[in-house]
C-alpha cells in the first residue's frame, strides 16, 4: 500500500512549524540526505503504531542539541544533560504529532508512543527490517540536524 503523501514535504513543513512556533527560529531550506551516516550526539526516537509501524527520530550533534534546547527553554545550555534529552524528545513528539495529522488527512490513523532519548559519541540505532526510510536534513546556525522516518504501512 502506497502512502499518498509527499513525506519529505510533510516532515519539512511539520518541523518548520514546530521551530517557528516554539523556538522562534526559521529553519533553512531542507534537503533529502542520501548519506547513511548521521552525525549525532543526541537522538530522540518516538515509536509509531496503528495504521503503520515505525519510528521517527531526531538526530542532533551536540552544538545543535544545545542550541535547540536553549531556544526552547530560553536559557544557555552548557552540557548534554537531562534538559537536552527532554527537549529533543519533546521536539520529536511535536514533529511526530504534526506527521500524525498529515497521515490522518489521507486516512491513515497512527498512534504515538512516548519519546526515548539517547546521548553518546558513537552509537548505532537499528530499526525495522524492510522499512521505508526517509531522512531530511535541516540547517541551523550551529549546524545540521536530521529527522528520520522509518515506516512500514500495515495492510
Amino acid at each position: 500500500m502506497a502512502v499518498e503523501l509527499d513525506l519529505v514535504n510533510e516532515i519539512s513543513l511539520g518541523t518548520k512549524d514546530v521551530f517557528s512556533t516554539m523556538l522562534m527560529i526559521d529553519l533553512e531550506d531542507v534537503k533529502v540526505e542520501c548519506a547513511t551516516a548521521i552525525q549525532s550526539n543526541v537522538t530522540s526516537m518516538i515509536g509509531l503504531g496503528g495504521g503503520l509501524r515505525g519510528m521517527l527520530s531526531v538526530h542532533c550533534p551536540e552544538l545543535v542539541a544545545r542550541e535547540i534546547t536553549g531556544a526552547l527553554l530560553g536559557m544557555e545550555v552548557d552540557d548534554l544533560g537531562d534538559d537536552v534529552k527532554d527537549a529533543i524528545g519533546e521536539l520529536a513528539n511535536m514533529v511526530a504529532g504534526n506527521l500524525k495529522i498529515s497521515f490522518a488527512g489521507v486516512g491513515v490513523d497512527i498512534e504515538l508512543a512516548i519519546p526515548t532519548s539517547v546521548i553518546g559519541k558513537s552509537f548505532r540505532i537499528c530499526g525495522l527490517s524492510g522499512a521505508t526510510r526517509i531522512l531530511v536534513e535541516f540547517g541551523m546556525p550551529a549546524g545540521s540536524f536530521w529527522i528520520e522516518l522509518l515506516y512500514v504501512i500495515n495492510t
Partner: protein, 123 residues
C-alpha cells in the same frame, strides 16, 4: 486565596514552556504547580488548592485520559476545570477527553497568543 494552576506533562521542558507562555500571555497565577503524570497530579491535588489544570495526554504511568477518569470520581476535585495541551488532536481522543470533563484542547506546538485565546476565557 490566589489563583493556582497545575501543569501535568511528563516533559519538564514542556512544563517550563507552558509556564513561560502563561507569563508571556499576561496570565498571572500565584502558584504554578507541576506534575509529571496523572498519578503525581492526583497526589498533589490532595494537598494543594488548584483552580485550573493544563494536562498532556500521552504520559507514562497514568495518561491524561486516565487522569480525567479518576478525577471525575473524586468529589473534592472533580469540578476543577481541565484543558488538554497535547500533540493529540484526533476527534476521537479529544472527544473522549471532553466527555470526561475537559473543556478543550491546545495543540502542540502553540504560541502564547494561542494559550491566551483558549485559556483566557476560562479564567
Amino acid at each position: 486565596m490566589g489563583k493556582n494552576v497545575l501543569l501535568i506533562d511528563d516533559s519538564s521542558t514542556m512544563r517550563k514552556i507552558v509556564g513561560r507562555s502563561l507569563r508571556q500571555a499576561g496570565i498571572e497565577f500565584d502558584n504554578i504547580f507541576e506534575a509529571g503524570d496523572g498519578l503525581e497530579a492526583l497526589a498533589l491535588l490532595e494537598k494543594e488548592h488548584v483552580d485550573i489544570i493544563l494536562s498532556d495526554i500521552n504520559m507514562p504511568n497514568m495518561d491524561g485520559i486516565a487522569f480525567l477518569r479518576e478525577k471525575a470520581n473524586r468529589p473534592a476535585i472533580k469540578d476543577i476545570p481541565v484543558l488538554m495541551i497535547s500533540t493529540e488532536t484526533g476527534e476521537d481522543i479529544i472527544g473522549e477527553a471532553k466527555s470526561l470533563g475537559a473543556l478543550g484542547a491546545i495543540k502542540k506546538p502553540f504560541t502564547p497568543d494561542k494559550v491566551n485565546e483558549i485559556l483566557g476565557p476560562l479564567l
